[in-house]
Amino acid sequence: MERIEGLAKLTGRERYVDDLQVDGALWGMTVRSRAPRGRIREIRFDPAVDWSEIVVVDHRDIPGANEVLLIEPDQPVLAAERVRHVHEPVLLLAHPSREVVRRAAHAIEIEVDPEPPYLDVSVPPRPDQLQRGEDNVFKRLRIEKGDVDTALARAARVVEGEYRTGAQEHVYIETQGMLAWEENGVVFIKGSLQCPYYVHKAAIRALGREPDGVRIVQAATGGGFGGKEEYPSMIALHAALLTLAADRPVKIVYDRGEDMEATTKRHPAIVRHRTGVDADGRLVAQDIDVVMDGGAYVTLSPVVLSRGIIHASGPYRCENVRIHGRVMLTNSPPHGAFRGFGAPQTHFANERHMDVVAAAAGLDPIELRRRNLLLDGDETATGQRIVDGVDRIALLDQAVDLSGWREKEAAHAELARTDPWLRRGMGLACFHHGAGFTGSGEVMLASRLDVAGLPDGRVEVRSANIEMGQGTLTIFTAIAAARLGLAPSEVAIAEADTGRVPNSGPTVASRTAMIVGRLVEEACDDLRLRLGLPADARGEEIRQAVREHARATGEETVGRAEYEPPRGVLWDDATYRGDAYAAYGWGAYVAEVEVDLRTWATRVVDFVAVQDVGTVLHRTLAAGQVQGGVAQGIGWALMEECRWKDGAMQNAQLTNYIVPTSFDLPPIRVHFGETPWPGGPMGAKGLGELPIDGPAPAVVNAVARAIGVAPTEIPLTPERLMDLDRRAEGRHARIA
């Protein structure tokens, strides 16, 4: 089966928000703070502009609460008295001409009496930088298992390390945008988004409306990667406020600069490890401290931290684990959801650290991992017993074999002897990723999904989970078609419109295929039941029954499903113990890199990605998820760097924030172990995020081995690598 909307995309017929042309629509624009923190003293409008022709909205025009409601209500829709970060929205403008509204935005000065910003989480805040509690901490979390201090004291060796990861920009190729209009007293908001019901929740709060007074509709979405999880609520509210003020449809589409400066990034993190191993290199204690920079408002930081710390000790067996995490308020734009959601940061630290531990223990990195990988029946740091039948050691061995590790290492040694400048190395990472919401999250979401029989005999899947490139439409179609014995062409997927589809939860956390896909199966079963058909009814029987029902009752038949947690999955939020996720995907990635000692530039020359994510539902889509995730991971590892100054991103252009091109990447070789997981549709687990966890440590470990340095920070730019190499100088100064 081909991607459902593939041809529409290949021919340019797919409609994204900026492709929707609405008669009489105005262009909206956001006027933002230039200061990282302070009290708004005055807003000056240049008298040279005719303001009477421009719609201007400020915080006083918000009918409901001035809050972008998500976890906490701390983030305003429009700053009222104070600003807490650069590029914080203060005013909104609209006009029929984009040119006029752009010029108008340049003609407004927001004067701010500055207050001292807090920008660096590696040092504690000064009293005058405090903005939350007595320490600017948004959230603290801890995981405790066994007795770490005793185990460390008794360990044969204790190895310490500190690792840092930088902010990462999503660079979805479609920038953010929203279109809003009012129709029969209902505010419609349509745009680029991952979570229609998040936007809905925020909109009824800020617009002060009943749930049916607002309808959120997803337009085709040109990539999200988490970047369209929370920020779209902000833009949606802005477009809605303007449309209410102007009484006309309003479209806001960010240009690339605004999108990069103002919207969320991956949380920067500092992770410290203290690891005890016994004489055989077995882990006896892991003491881990995680600090994340949350930016100016809470947004999703507590859950990012949570996923980060749960994955921080890696896919390893260890009796004594202590993980402390905190996420801090700083005066940079809020950091937020990004594919992996905290786990890539902690996996980078852990897998880089495992190579350091291996060296200290006198083991090769493969052997160290073979000795410590979780076996079926072992417990994770939260005490979750892993029994999914996946052989993690076999995955590692497969990745190593496919990469040609042993033969290549010999060739690399030869290269180092003969070439004055070029060095190559192999690097490895083992990792895991929990699918679905953390802990009791899925229970609280209580997702619902419908499958309706249409009068023409087709069925329609109604869910709030959206397509953003990852394949939702195709996967849901395939699942429903298989369950009911229909052709894919007989399955329609409803537009994600909160007025028409139930809340099946957000499209995040690798949950769509695994959790919501399972609901598709259950709703299909329920439809069959409601049609009065036996459980094995398929194809023609279904088709006929659907048509007859519609003819007889004049109504469609709707099969319904609601999430129920798999039996025996238990989580205690108070102690952070139990089953953190219903299922995990497992990965073992190997990178081969070449470092040019003339320039300290690193090129990834081969990449092998082996993972087990249960049954693979669609081979091309799954491989594409892995390859895309690996490409983002390689970018994060080597070149993607946000350059900050006074809380503002300095390189908010694609010329200066560099992502990999086709010429920078090797073919990414993808292999799947396919141990079916009974809890998922057709045996599948979540896949979307796993591939971003492994590439950075694999690549950096390979660089470390290629030239004999010990990097601790990404992106490992040539400049950083040069500095490391100079410190290690003398070992390879040989010139031909």
């Binding site: 694609l654 086709s662 990414i668």
Partner: protein, 154 residues
């Protein structure tokens, strides 16, 4: 509205003669998308980096965000709207598109390679595609699709 008189221009668009009046400050991308309603060509950055806005001008790929509309006067422009879907099977099967935002640009550059296979005597596909950023696919699906369409990959 800012006193710039519109400029008349005539060019060939996907084989048809077109005459329009354009704002002198309009980029070819704006002309196509907002004046002519041909929204297949996408804006990903407006700074020539991403290639989502790629069209052909006189047979060569160009970023339409970097071309003033008036410069296509007398020239031949080809956009994604001209592409025969029947040619896109290999790209569909290989997973060349995910979110689709980069895709029209990718297809226009890919098609240029398909129509000028002699380029591959001196260039690799990965080099020729380097002006089209894709954040979803990691490029493998794109490269494989072009290879399949060229018949160099089974």
């Amino acid at each position: 509205m800012h006193g710039s008189p519109e400029l008349p221009l005539s060019f060939t668009l996907n084989g048809d003669a077109v005459s329009v009046e354009a704002d002198p400050a309009a980029r070819l991308l704006d002309l196509l998308r907002y004046d002519l309603g041909m929204t297949g060509t996408k804006e990903g950055c407006g700074e020539g980096e991403c290639g989502a806005c790629t069209v052909w001008i006189d047979g060569l790929p160009a970023d339409s965000c970097l071309v003033p509309a008036f410069q296509v006067d007398g020239r031949e422009v080809r956009t994604i709207e001209s592409v025969d879907p029947a040619r896109l099977g290999p790209l569909l099967s290989s997973g060349a598109t995910q979110c689709g935002a980069c895709t029209p640009g990718v297809v226009m550059t890919g098609l240029w390679i398909l129509e000028n296979p002699g380029l591959l005597r001196s260039h690799a596909i990965r080099e020729l595609m380097a002006g089209n950023l894709c954040r979803c696919t990691g490029y493998d699906g794109i490269i494989e699709g072009i290879e399949a369409a060229l018949g160099t990959r089974s």
